[in-house]
């Protein structure tokens, strides 16, 4: 295009002019100029390290969310834990009474505590299994799950 003369009657030039007039009349041109100022301010203020480090932080967050999104059951269990946490000692000024060994033994008979205990023991067993699986996936020497091959 450079070096060539623009033909003011060409359809493309007319169209471009029409668009410009419309932008001017609707005030959009002023908005665009203002936006361009913000963009150039951003360009001045941002440097490469900011781009890199901010994106890196977002990516770490994204990886966490991705793992969570792939584990809907885990999210349900997390919600369970948050609900239980909310109802445990909800008033920070009024912590629960202390419990000694005999009191603790008695509490173990409470059907709710028994249910919670079942959850925690199952969690421990799963944790053990997951630790084994993870160790296998990070065992770069043998690196195969012999059970499955």
């Amino acid at each position: 295009m450079s070096g060539e003369q623009l033909d003011p009657n060409a359809e493309s030039v007319q169209n471009a002019l029409d668009t410009l007039v419309e932008l001017e009349e609707t005030g959009t041109l002023d908005d665009l100029a203002a936006a361009a100022n913000v963009v150039s301010l951003a360009a001045e203020a941002v440097d490469e390290d900011m781009v890199r480090s901010t994106t890196r932080a977002l990516v770490h967050a994204g990886e966490l969310f991705d793992s969570a999104a792939g584990e809907p059951e885990a999210i349900r269990n997390l919600e369970l834990l948050t609900a239980a946490l909310s109802d445990t000692a909800a008033d920070p000024a009024d912590p629960p009474d202390g419990v000694g060994p005999i009191g603790a033994a008695r509490k173990l008979n409470d059907p709710q505590v028994k249910r919670g205990m079942g959850f925690l023991l199952t969690l421990l067993a799963e944790l053990g299994e997951q630790l084994d699986t993870r160790a296998r996936r990070y065992d770069f020497e043998t690196g195969v799950d012999e059970d499955r091959i």
Binding site: V51, R56, E63, D66, R134, F140, G143, V144, D145, I149
Partner: protein, 381 residues
Amino acid sequence: MTTEIVIVGGGVGGTVTANRLQKELHREVSSGDVRIRLVSETPYHVYKPTFFYVPWGEAEPEDASRPLADLVDRRIDLVYDRVTHIDTSGKSLDLAENGSIPYDYLVVATGAAPDIEGTPGFGADGNGHHIYDAEAAMELRRELSAFDSGRLVFSVVEMPHVCPAVPIEFTMLADARFRQLGTRDDIDITYTYPISQLHSVDAAAEWVEPRFDDRGIETYTEFAFDTVDSDAEVIHAADGTELEYDLLVGVPGFEPSPLIAESGLGESWMEVDKHTLESDHADGVFGVGDVTNIPTSKAGSVAHYAAGTVVDRVAALARGHEPRTTFDGDAICFLEAGTDSGSHMSFTYDSEPVIRNETEFVHWAKLAYNETYWLTARGLA
């Protein structure tokens, strides 16, 4: 009966395919109807574009690699072993150490390996440098840190080259760096390309010509390497041209894993239908990424987009449906024009790219993309 899906290669194409298949088929995997396995000869995933920054001290080789186990969904089985043979009639793979495993659907994503020894001037008896592995990139960093005068020759020695942007980007980055360091007046930069234009993509050739001119970069086209005299530091081209260098950096030849030819999947590159990405020679076998013979660039973006097509097709087959999704050759590449601005090109099998003027924002977008890549590998975005 469990449907066995096996992916060979844990690079860009293989990792994205595996993670996306898991997302797509998560119900079938949970119920045990489908099993997904990823076989990789290395337990690490390497994001090679990082090597581009290593010679300039802007990245370390460790930044390029992460354990596959960090990136691959825990419900996909990882097998760290090399596939030595694919039996396409018996539908099984032989592994170097662990016997063999069966497959119903196989995705081959074994990439392209640089043929350093086969490239004149770059093997053990040459002194040509490249950026196609971590060690080589570090070696080049050492050379560049001591290079303050003489002639740098950047050569694309063989085609096809992996990542279409590298030759242009490296040359322009070298120019910008030497200017920053105040050494540009004492350094000549020469660029050679083996065909009759400066780049195989027409639009890239047109874009780069005035920019190389402005920067005083000397160019040679149709420059076919014959031999290199590394002691005298002279490249002898097939047409008799002699080109002296003080530092030779280049793009060597690339070749597929010998597995492809040995398993009858292609004479050299894996032969696939360019739209369905299914093997021309075997049922239930797909190719993704640099290993295939599809008529487009060997680029990470192509591997990434092609993975989407293969995932849809394999998932449909695993569910007993007719696959519909096809691949149009989508590719997108950034084109950095020095240290602080960049452009990009996107194209398909049927459309040529339009390359706009470089801007700072596109440069930032590239930096940001290099970070967000790890989300892409997980099958997001």
